[in-house]
Symmetry: D2
Subunit: 345 residues, 4 copies
Amino acid sequence: MIIVLKPDASNEQIDHLIKRIESEGLKTNVSRGAYRTIIGLIGDETKIPVNTLQSIPGVAQVVPILPPYKLASLEAQPEPSVVDVAGVKIGGGYLAMIAGPCAVESAERMDEIAASVRQAGANILRGGAYKPRTSPYSYQGMGKEGLKILRETGDKHGMPVVTEVTDPRCVELVAEYADMLQVGARNMQNFVLLTEVGQARKPVLLKRGMSATIEDLLMSAEYILSQGNLNVVLCERGVKGFDPATRNLFDVAAVPSCKQRSHLPIIVDPSHATGKPALIPPCALAGVAAGADGVHIEVHNCPEKAVSDGPQALLPEQYAEVAEQIRELAKLLGKKISVLSGEPV
Amino acid sequence: MIIVLKPDASNEQIDHLIKRIESEGLKTNVSRGAYRTIIGLIGDETKIPVNTLQSIPGVAQVVPILPPYKLASLEAQPEPSVVDVAGVKIGGGYLAMIAGPCAVESAERMDEIAASVRQAGANILRGGAYKPRTSPYSYQGMGKEGLKILRETGDKHGMPVVTEVTDPRCVELVAEYADMLQVGARNMQNFVLLTEVGQARKPVLLKRGMSATIEDLLMSAEYILSQGNLNVVLCERGVKGFDPATRNLFDVAAVPSCKQRSHLPIIVDPSHATGKPALIPPCALAGVAAGADGVHIEVHNCPEKAVSDGPQALLPEQYAEVAEQIRELAKLLGKKISVLSGEPV
Amino acid sequence: MIIVLKPDASNEQIDHLIKRIESEGLKTNVSRGAYRTIIGLIGDETKIPVNTLQSIPGVAQVVPILPPYKLASLEAQPEPSVVDVAGVKIGGGYLAMIAGPCAVESAERMDEIAASVRQAGANILRGGAYKPRTSPYSYQGMGKEGLKILRETGDKHGMPVVTEVTDPRCVELVAEYADMLQVGARNMQNFVLLTEVGQARKPVLLKRGMSATIEDLLMSAEYILSQGNLNVVLCERGVKGFDPATRNLFDVAAVPSCKQRSHLPIIVDPSHATGKPALIPPCALAGVAAGADGVHIEVHNCPEKAVSDGPQALLPEQYAEVAEQIRELAKLLGKKISVLSGEPV
Amino acid sequence: MIIVLKPDASNEQIDHLIKRIESEGLKTNVSRGAYRTIIGLIGDETKIPVNTLQSIPGVAQVVPILPPYKLASLEAQPEPSVVDVAGVKIGGGYLAMIAGPCAVESAERMDEIAASVRQAGANILRGGAYKPRTSPYSYQGMGKEGLKILRETGDKHGMPVVTEVTDPRCVELVAEYADMLQVGARNMQNFVLLTEVGQARKPVLLKRGMSATIEDLLMSAEYILSQGNLNVVLCERGVKGFDPATRNLFDVAAVPSCKQRSHLPIIVDPSHATGKPALIPPCALAGVAAGADGVHIEVHNCPEKAVSDGPQALLPEQYAEVAEQIRELAKLLGKKISVLSGEPV
């Protein structure tokens, strides 16, 4: 940590500051420049929060040197993590192909979609049972019944399943049915929920919030990791932007940015990122080219009848086409894709 | 709702669409232009979600006419709501003066700060017992013990108290101690929590999320209202911006924007909006001048020792100064400020 | 300037860096921390650009201490500048009231509007002769003819006039007719134009670009100042935001933010900032309450017939109402407003 | 165009509006819904600007149906444009490889870099002679001398050259020396400059502004096209974002978004988009995977000595590596790359 003092900081203020820092067992290095005095902290700088230092009279600016996340950092683990979702690997050279409808709507619909995406090459099935909806009047999901359908469909087709959990009181229940728990973008800083999924013993798919920086995302991952759950997969799904051309702004640079800082796998979700079917395939490929460890795409066989987010889903045949392109690109990049056991039903 | 068709929409597609709409009991008005065909929906357009219409082949664009919120709208209630927090009125010409530390730290500290802000003219006391913190390693609040201290301090100084609730499992507990429940910016779209506070019988202070539009904010209010809790106060506290000059970007136009659409009171929080003490007073005055129904300011008597967000707090004497300016401005604007009973302790 | 080295920076890299810095005549202070080595620069740090330092192997981060603007800074001039526009003062306690149509349309229309805004209390008349329009098919302004009309109207009503210049080749011409040159938001970083207006001997109204930080704005002002033209007035007119509720996002905190860093006056333009007549008066008052040195409002007596930006103009009677409120607020805040000589025509 | 009326619009207002529209030779289709009346315009809707309609009393909302750009639209030309830069094709299946230093610094440096990028596979050489710099105290470019060096270097190595023009008075001069004129992001809405380059007879590389929507970008292209210069190549180079993790926010979805609307080629510039060498190769590949028609990368053989933007440049060996990856990806996607005549020097 480096502390830059105000030009008019008094000697009393500087002395008070140094004493304060040293009282925490840290050492200081004081550099008196032509215009400003600068104090460097030597030792475990987490002992004094940045905010506290900023409140001390005479301080102009505090510059942290170390990232605030620890377990998520490359310093903690230089080699990439590989997260195993009931046999399907994500990260460390393995590319996940996650697909399925926005919401679980019925056993029959789920079965049809699962059959088509497995046939097309998906290796993890998604489907929402608890839907966080902007409007209280919108469809809110099938709840426990949806979880059962998702589990049965996954079992029938030999696919691990991932589904969103929105309520800390439901984490245990969802973990009973699902192979991977999704924390949605709107809940990325729902720290109560993060703490609960951190105590679950299932991998977590953590989606980036719409106004979250990469550092915010890694701090939210740290909440989960610090509870002992090390199986966290990050997901870039678009941030808030100013251009109505797309639903969100797909920040593809987040993929290499995260990899520069963290060992955690990161996948992309071009469905939510763009909100427009025509843009999903090019953005899926862009994500893989940028180094993503997986692609999450919403697929529905009758978007017009989807209860939620129909217009951003691909049709099964569109998914099959982009899945083929993703496989070719993955091959070029030397990535592997976990193969499911059993034949497609 | 208006549906704009693609230039190449076929007659079959148009017929299918019209049948689909009419099957929901709605009527249509078809206008064939030189370049595009347009269909107007006549009747209760909430029967078909925008998303569904957008998924139907041939549809280019769907333009909603009515706002998606109902109870929060001026159509539902043209005159401004007045929310009563244990005798202190907010809205309809009443300006609330909310002040206190970011976090409840100890009974003694709380007592000192309460005494100073009441003396300065605050009429609601704030203090966090459950703190949503970006880092799992930061101070997370005193919990129930903090609630008790806040309650006792409020009682001693004759001030209603407001505190944040972050966990749906704690809503009942917090409502036992507090006169007003705060839902923080990071939880603005935590719909599980919104539903719970909607069932509580205490007023709610709903802070705008960092990437929430005015419509998103009103939709979140609608969650609470639709559960039967009509005592919702909105709060503008800054949205995500690109300029590191301020912590957030204080969207002062949100105040008149909300008032153009909703009867709900809206207050401003210049502490979180700016994150810089020097900017808090001018932004507090700006908010009041723009028509805000209250001002929420963090005050701490020793920011250097604050366990959370010290640097954005005003000192008691700074608060007293801006409170005096707010009162003068309120007078000029014809606003009233509820007077607490009893003398300052 | 502080240079933070990478954790794995070699001794050779550190030595190379130190030699490089010292070769520019600067001294260094090296602090070897537990995790990182930090080098402080002592001396005139403008001798080595931040970018250059960042390119040197082993360097992780470069933290500038001094602001990159000089003439615009409070260090250069601690007391507020007062800019005189043909007798009307802006800044240093003086509030400017700038009003008029978006574009000069005809002598008659200009005369009507000038009469009404002068009557309402405006002391500077605006009107565009050269319009920067998003579309090549939109009205582009009357050009020189418009300048003449503006000048004659100003003279008739005894009001100084301000108008936009968009072309470096027209600066001299515009300066012949206008008392103040406006540089629009889209040209805030048109450095060729800034250099030209810096050489003109007329005050400049510099509008903040839609994605400009406060620092960017002050750097653009620095371009003008560094050419010898010290009469620069800044203008906050909204930045790009994500919410379609308003045309732009009015960053009212920019007013005190600029005042914390610069002596230059800053005014607000709620017309462009909000783009909605109903939001203009509350945002105008918010700007003044935040400390602005003037208010710029577009006024048109028949918005339906305006050739440009009609819907964001106030009607003359609406302007008269908000002007009265601004005067009352200015009085409360102890601000003065330059009085024009002569009687309204 | 569709006009939505206010709920309380009077019959007089509706009649006035209809007459106004019909007076322009347009027809109307009036639909009276349960809640709102809607008027559709039939005919050439460019006859009445959106703004004018929005100013007419009783009007709530105006929804344009047709895009405001014409020549740039797919309606004007459904097949992709191929722009020819002195023999190097861009668009329509051809991928451009543009590389070179930020600024032309000396003949020797330019020669070294040109040799290395040509060897690595670049087919267009870039280099700035006029630099738009945020600070008036930064290096502003070599001017005409730089143009000469660039031209000579291009000729020696058999590479077409592209360079930025910032001043409308210099367009002719720059067009004498360069094969392609670049309009930078900060000048994307410098309409005076756009008009000048529209009259030049050289291809134009138009960079997207930092707060420009896709529609804004296409409107700026329209300025150039409408002057008769049809050889416009768009460039995505990152928009303003809130995360300091990258210099700008690389909007890779802009590539397919533009292709959905326009026949103009679009390339990506990951150097400016990310500002970090480590992120340039993954983002370059992402752009190509998303369908970009070219990649623009800054290369410098001694970033530490670069006079401008050194830290975001790749070293020649880094460029060679990513160029090889781009070629492999282009092959997979079926893209061609124009081959320069002659052997690398």
